[in-house]
Symmetry: C2
Subunit: 339 residues, 2 copies
């Protein structure tokens, strides 16, 4: 099987190193990591299972290597190649390129033991960061707006420059939390507010992902046992937590992804909040923050040991509040283990 990659994480997965200007060709038993001279030293040191080729003209060099090889067919991911980059190769070779959407994500759906260890560590570091963030918000968060709170979340999650983040954290108060992908506003946090934080950090390039929803008060942690003064919020929260716990307790290897999705959705539907759970139950996590498997109501993907994904049911009442509780799980010995 021959394939070509131009996605940084897809390439890292193949050879243990990557950078922001690289093409990767896998031609039977040979592989080529083509980059420019800025990365010569690091690439030669860290790339394994591939020959490092240094060239200013990545695509020109790729064409040359492809012509010299006797390759007739190449797989590529049409979602990851631009029309321009792809045409450079099709115009200059006679190879048949076959599109394989999510090619690398499919390869990466089952995590190795080494990857599971790294993801567990990422999740643990993420959880610790949430604990520190709760303290930071209690001490210095009251009266700050969502922009400043988001900045604090970035600082604490990244441990002030030590870790990269999985994505820009979501820090949303009250009605703003009703938007699953809320952007910060100038609303300021005060005691009694509902606070939703969705954030993660990267450890050895692998992502963590976690969401907690709490009521701001003198003492709060980002645990899952939150209490709210408003009955309507508490009711919705309890439903989300029950759905979250139910999916973690009952997810099994061999199930279809939609059956795992149903473990949260059915409970939320029964409680009458179905129309307010507007997204899927979860998504795979790895080098990318969104990977396979997708835990969605229409997915027939079979869940298997070694998969890592989020369980993150939510209830979003427009104009009022939003609740989401998210943890990462790994399928181990047939069951979901929280990372």
């Amino acid at each position: 099987m021959n394939y070509m990659l131009n996605n940084e994480n897809a390439i890292y997965y193949e050879c243990g190193y990557s950078c922001d200007n690289v093409l990767y060709l896998s031609l039977g038993s040979e592989a080529y990591f083509i980059t420019d001279s800025r990365y010569t030293i690091e690439a030669r040191e860290k790339v394994h299972n591939a020959e490092v080729v240094i060239d200013r003209d990545l695509y020109g060099r790729a064409v040359k290597i492809l012509k010299e090889s006797k390759v007739k067919k190449m797989i590529f991911d049409p979602k990851e190649w631009s029309v321009a980059a792809f045409q450079h190769l099709t115009d200059n070779t006679k190879i048949t390129f076959s599109p394989e959407p999510d090619f690398s994500h499919k390869k990466r759906i089952i995590k190795s033991d080494e990857e599971l260890k790294i993801l567990a560590k990422a999740a643990k570091l993420g959880a610790k960061a949430f604990s520190r963030l709760a303290k930071e918000f209690q001490q210095n968060g009251i009266g700050e707006n969502e922009f400043a709170l988001t900045h604090k979340a970035k600082s604490v999650l990244g441990d002030y420059g030590k870790y990269d983040l999985s994505f820009d954290p979501i820090v949303a108060l009250n009605a703003n939390a009703a938007k699953p992908h809320a952007l910060p506003t100038k609303k300021r946090m005060k005691a009694g507010d509902l606070l939703l934080v969705d954030a993660g950090l990267k450890y050895k390039r692998y992502c963590s992902d976690r969401t907690r929803t709490v009521q701001v008060g003198e003492r709060f942690t980002f645990g899952t046992k939150s209490t709210f003064a408003k009955k309507k919020i508490q009711k919705a929260y309890d439903v989300v937590l029950k759905a979250h716990d139910n999916a973690i307790a009952k997810a099994r290897s061999g199930m279809k992804a939609r059956e795992v999705d149903a473990l949260t959705r059915d409970l939320i539907n029964k409680a009458g909040f179905g129309e307010y759970f507007v997204h899927s139950t979860g998504h795979g996590v790895g080098l990318d923050i969104h990977e396979m498997p997708y835990i969605a109501s229409k997915s027939d993907t079979i869940i298997e040991d070694g998969m890592v994904y989020t369980i993150e049911p939510g209830i979003y009442i427009p104009g009022e509040f939003g609740i989401r509780i998210e943890d990462m799980v790994a399928m181990i010995d047939g069951k979901a283990v929280v990372l």
Copy 2:
């Protein structure tokens, strides 16, 4: 002229609003901003000169609109469309799509008076942030490593969550500054070190960009008049500053971009550092941090009033040190004005 866009900044330029899931079709006198329901309210409020269309299936809806129109030819930028997205449209319509690389960047090369004001404000905010950063580094930077210093740069440039950044700041010490795109290391800053900072912030989505190189001491600002204890560094610094000042003083509308490039390069060559100036003199700045015009040794682009670009000569001695001084200029009444 009919065209289609899927780049966030390209679309913002057309209609004053954008988001992370949008397609834009311009069909003669009609235009369509197609996005999903998460953005309904904001899009309806802020998009001008285009009809807001809400649909989960952006591409399907685009196909429908294209079929209903009598459009026969569409321009697109092959660098910005993925093979998959593009094929969705080619497979389902009979339109002839003509590739026009950098289509939006070409439209945006001359800035309007309104854009010039915004860019000037962005640059001014960036300059002020550098002043604050100098103080922060003097007070709390000594003994911190490049990761922590980079984090401080992000915090100060973004004013603790108020502004987005143009890009991840570069904060590099001594030999690490010799890499034009240095990544942070665990090296800790001490008095006497050479410190290079390349950073910018966004104001109303427009980028600022600025680089300063200084010697760390009890008192330093991020001005351009830096002094260094080591003679070799001081000599190189003086050459870079002279090149920087020369280009700003002598750049004229009507020149070719390569002539502006030569205003820095010739001086650096004459001083014997030519082989250590490994990049172009500058790049356009606007909604994207890298736009047209590119001030490069092979560019025949004619410089015109209303263009905004950086002047950023550098000298990089591998294993020893790197120097770069960068400012943004706007071409006004034929001359380069520092923003």
